[in-house]
Symmetry: C2
Subunit: 897 residues, 2 copies
Amino acid sequence: MESQATTRWVYSFGDGKAQGRADMKNLLGGKGANLAEMSNLGLPVPAGFTITTEVCTYYYANGRSYPADLKTQVEAALADVERSIGSRFGDAADPLLVSVRSGARASMPGMMDTVLNLGLNDETVRGLARRSGDERFAFDSYRRFIQMYGNVVLGVDHHHFEEILEHAKRDRDITLDTEMTSADWQAVVQDYKKAVAHALGRPFPQDVHEQLWGAIGAVFGSWMNQRAITYRRLHDIPADWGTAVNVQAMVFGNMGEDCATGVAFTRDPSTGENRFYGEYLVNAQGEDVVAGIRTPQHLTVAGKLANKSDLPAMEEVMPEVFAQLDAVRLRLERHYRDMQDIEFTVQQGKLYMLQTRTGKRTAAAALKIAVDLCAEGVVTREEAVRRIEPSSLDQLLHPTLDPKAQRTVIARGLPASPGAASGKLVFSADEAESLSEMGEAVILCRIETSPEDIHGMHAARGILTTRGGMTSHAAVVARGMGRACVAGAGELRVDYKGQTVMVRGVTIKAGDVVTIDGSTGEVMLGEVPTIQPELSGDFATLMGWADGIRRMRVRTNAETPLDARTAVRFGAEGIGLCRTEHMFFDTDRIVAVREMILAEDEAGRRAALAKIEPMQRRDFVELFGIMKGLPVTIRLLDPPLHEFLPNTEEEMAEVAAAAGIDAPRVRHRALQLHEANPMLGHRGCRLGISYPEIYEMQARAIFEAAVEVFRDSGETVTPEIMIPLVGSRKELDILKAVIDRVAGEVMQASGRRIDYLVGTMIELPRAALRAGDIAASAEFFSFGTNDLTQTTFGISRDDAASFLPDYQRHGILEHDPFVSLDQEGVGELVRLAVSRGRETRPDVKLGICGEHGGDPSSIRFCEQVGLDYVSCSPYRVPIARLAAAQATLAGERVGRD
Amino acid sequence: MESQATTRWVYSFGDGKAQGRADMKNLLGGKGANLAEMSNLGLPVPAGFTITTEVCTYYYANGRSYPADLKTQVEAALADVERSIGSRFGDAADPLLVSVRSGARASMPGMMDTVLNLGLNDETVRGLARRSGDERFAFDSYRRFIQMYGNVVLGVDHHHFEEILEHAKRDRDITLDTEMTSADWQAVVQDYKKAVAHALGRPFPQDVHEQLWGAIGAVFGSWMNQRAITYRRLHDIPADWGTAVNVQAMVFGNMGEDCATGVAFTRDPSTGENRFYGEYLVNAQGEDVVAGIRTPQHLTVAGKLANKSDLPAMEEVMPEVFAQLDAVRLRLERHYRDMQDIEFTVQQGKLYMLQTRTGKRTAAAALKIAVDLCAEGVVTREEAVRRIEPSSLDQLLHPTLDPKAQRTVIARGLPASPGAASGKLVFSADEAESLSEMGEAVILCRIETSPEDIHGMHAARGILTTRGGMTSHAAVVARGMGRACVAGAGELRVDYKGQTVMVRGVTIKAGDVVTIDGSTGEVMLGEVPTIQPELSGDFATLMGWADGIRRMRVRTNAETPLDARTAVRFGAEGIGLCRTEHMFFDTDRIVAVREMILAEDEAGRRAALAKIEPMQRRDFVELFGIMKGLPVTIRLLDPPLHEFLPNTEEEMAEVAAAAGIDAPRVRHRALQLHEANPMLGHRGCRLGISYPEIYEMQARAIFEAAVEVFRDSGETVTPEIMIPLVGSRKELDILKAVIDRVAGEVMQASGRRIDYLVGTMIELPRAALRAGDIAASAEFFSFGTNDLTQTTFGISRDDAASFLPDYQRHGILEHDPFVSLDQEGVGELVRLAVSRGRETRPDVKLGICGEHGGDPSSIRFCEQVGLDYVSCSPYRVPIARLAAAQATLAGERVGRD
């Protein structure tokens, strides 16, 4: 414990210098590090200090207590702030007021608690009144403080305060807060204090130091509130990062008409255009802008015109301060080399910077900003590639409204987050979540959203609000999540109780389908047809750079011509997984497939296979044609049998007729084939071992298709034939012999040589363990991480829904292991298989074809273990291309260090 | 290839010396090595030579061809034999005749081919006639040779020869072979040769060297015949061991009344008593004894009397030769330090030894022999322990007939293999196999058995033959397999076609239940009640020695009082797995259990649990009482849910009534709980995570039972509470917290301290991989190798029957991995978990509780990886005790080298 005496727990900033720096984010949190950095840049930052994230870690590791010397360090830092501001904390004559805010390593907007105006009590409020010359402001500040502190720190419910304010206004026949006089606020303060005392059984704390430590404790405590935990889970933020606490001298945007407060982006966060973009409110505190309660005004005249606003721009109202702010904007962007999201306050004509951070942006904006910054010489191509969040590309790949489609626009709001979405209207986050879990597309409609709604916003396809601007909670969160959002559609009248929304005389009920277009702000009745996005411009530029960087190839999982074509358009470099059983569900062939599966002997199977073979051959001819010589990995039949068994009497009769036997026999056989655990049953290569004629037919269809494609188009196809569910080398050897024999026969018959590879899925723990032996026969491995996850965890994906949520809630699983590869369990088997496989066969081709092939963090893992390619669903291909490039860059960085 | 020039492929023996030795079994096969050893001992062995097993390996590795210099070496060795015998191979005047026999490393009785009398042709047969002075004998030998060679080497079907012989006898109105004259045999020889020429399109080979190489090739070829492959699979003999070929000068037991042939055991193979035990036939060839065609005579007068035989004993007929043989018996036993199984021939009054090998014996005999030899000072206790095949103990543990039970004895045969068995009568091996696969107990009844019947004998509970003696095929094989066998029950008249057996006027049909007692030779109608065996005498002595040797403890898997008591009687040192869900199937509690599982909320579950808890507590009180302070590992509930769901309307109604809700709601909930793959579903600790109140109830029942047992009996119980299906440490942490809390509550309430351990099953690949982390919280690991095998292989045990046979047939799996641990796959995970677990917690207690805990080869593996105990079903406990001792000895041996 001796070492604690020398630990710095508190870092001061302000007055053009700071003890911290921007690169100390892990220790100071994002906000604290950037306040320090802005101080060092000489920007006008109110003095303050940051209590480090290490204190948070200490706090939770030591039964919510603080390091012994924290108090001394805070007191010293507070004295520095007093010196800088020239007023003293708790001084009845000239009180220093402070804000206390959280600041984690990663931005968690609105997730944790903030207290403003701290330092006010029955005495200091009079000092503030005297020093500001504005008694009304002082008591307004005091009542705000009591409300905020009462709620956040003391846990007194909001509604106590709201009721008092409502009554006060009703008694005075007043509707707007601004009509309240100083005396009115004083009366409210008295009532607030009574309410707190009543709720807590003790008076509101008058000791400013007690206030300060209460607020610090509340911020640390808020790290573990349910909202924060949910947010971290959704955004993959580890709980052990902790939050810092920033204590900073208050500046006031609500001291009069020469005061203002605002938030801004150094470039347009929606389109990425290089124009100053932001909103402000005169005579307001910062929270007023973000909360979306008053409709904010634009910073620039251009912004005002573009949005057809009647309210004057800051550029017009406060031209000098605006010019300062614009200079700060350029300074920050040059310094940080990225678009910034800033908060500022103007107190009596003087500009103060309260925050800067890298701004959230839409995917399209992210691409434009990255490409533009590269053109401006600010960042390199590698840096540009590194800056795009791969999964954000998803936003660009989804359909937009068909411009030619009929649409009934019933309302218009702000285009808060791009993309179009249709779905059933719901009015609560819980409803959104539960309907979505049942597979319904939903649009969540709220007057405004709050952090409590996060889970519903995540579950919804789109979000529609009737209040709030482009920087409202709904807008910011929707953009972050890539959900379409129309915000502030003020014409809509929401009736939560009646579960309806009225607009222009039309009543839309919960469950009715609506469409929103987050790129135009339009709200439409019914479902409107959509079209595929164009993948050109900045997207194409940046993806080109990514392609130039990445080491791993990107293939797709596809078997239908539509999927294959989509994937090629998205840049797929081959098919990594063609699931032949998926080709078997078409109504024109399912009967023959069932006939084959239900056959009682080889003759019966061969009869059914003879019907299927020409269809299979045509499938492959078409697929090879689309892929134009790109590699195609075809997995031979791997049906968990139950998926193919006939269920209804009608289906049984159909199969019976096709096979020329009676229905009871079909029923009997289906019963025989029923399995207790089909996932672990007679499937994969086990079927090939029992009934080699099935794989024989498929191999023949593949080779004959290759010959046909060459004959008709001159394209040489090198099929990669993949045996599923292998657990030992002998299985592979037996089936490879069948394939080799058929290949020989087709080559003999056609007189044409066919090159092909035979390889295996690695999707069982045993296959991973025996990879050294298996590689002696396998020319390639493809990691089937879906099944490998199922068997390694012993969890059936089909049945996991009943307990996986409990598991995530308890923190047993940080991520759904079927979405993001479990690196320490499943990943260890992959690493093991890679090294053992390569030891036996140094050039064994290695790929992954589970869902994880399209998940950026899993792709990073694939790069680390040195796979040759990833294969994913068509819509994930661009994400995989970018993630692979970033993984290469990350690897180089590691290599360089 | 140069090195081949120096490889010795052929080892000569005879004339009191040999190039080989008994310890060269791997190279020379068992028969060859022992012929060499007997030669070295100066015993009368006809000269010969052994072609090594390496030639067999070479043969199969090189497309069935021989090493280049084999021919020269064979010729040289043959010349030695000619010199020793004084006659020449192929010499028309005085021909040397040879036998050609297989001889693998492990005995495979009757599995491979043998050719006798080789060297006879149309010329040499006359030389043999002249030299022996017995033309009839010469032509009888020639016709035997043509038949044997024709069948074995040339592939001409038996029936061709049999028909000719039948015709010949019918034409001459003869019934016995002995009535055939020389002229008759000469005619048969002519017909045999014609038949061969007709079947093959070329004459029977007259060139004796061609004959010799044909026979050698046939023996090597027989290594891969279906019978041999099946036998190897059943007896775990690797295919790459190969067989040797023994070529040896013929001696004749059928040259007249001063000739004989016989087989003997140096001690009684059925009881182990130290008395010379064997059978012989005057004027016969060796195969006549083994084939069971003539009823053999006893060697000793004592044997004759004991078996109430009318035929004279060898001791009486040939006292001098018998005395020589008896001396050989003592010499061999002293030399080999174990009971020997010998074959001999007497040619014109002179004794020749043709084989010695360690004799097969019943388990009871094995115990007696080992204990006796130890008492005689011949072997050490360790050696005695090492000599008992653990799985053979099974024979001693199974019930014998209740002597007080009513029984209808309908026939009597030889007590050929001990133990009693009841089952449906079947008349073919195939029928035995197919009925047995359907779960029926069967008794296989045959006139006599042959190697083709092996699979049916294996499938049957007992074997009944109407012909043949104690050394007949049926008797030898049944003893080896531990199947009850009554042989030579001559009163029975079997009608294969009519599928009946008649005896004393009674007709028993296929499918009728009979009981046989292999210890008395009785055959009874219907099923006769049985009793438990006494485990005393030699058994207790040897098991005591084993217990003194073994390092690992042996526990049992048991939850019922009956099983627990049985296991304790068999020497279990604790319970390694008490499956609490097995306690839940009783009719008096299944409704409450279903009510719990179907409950829609915690309140509903708690209501049901309150009904179950007192019953659970009583279970544990009883179990702790039986186990008297021995450790008891209790696995908390691990139900694959589907096992508990109500299926019938009646069951649903019962549950609905108990829970006070309506049946449709129960049905709906049951449907909700249905899982696609219950093995990978919401089970094990996942249930505990979702519904901690279940584990809470169980923990409470355990701790309260411990307190109660102490209060009532003063016995201190240290429960080991085991969490199933853990995949990560956090699961364990969460549930351990629940258990610890309940323990605290019970201790507080009772005022008594309870020591207990909390540990986990390692039954998922992920658990094995994460064992280092899990061991931080787990005080013990128990390897659940059933589930670990399922998940590592991705094979559901319930569904494997549809393809595992294909897998064993194709040699993909050498053993059923659910019977014998897959050491290279599943075993690697076990090894990994052991080393990672110990690294974190050096004293973590390690055990195994899968079925493998009772399998000797798996137990050897457990010793190698250093587990602390194995746990198995009660009836496997003695097997495990012995196997564990042998594993310790094997480990010491490895350690010593």
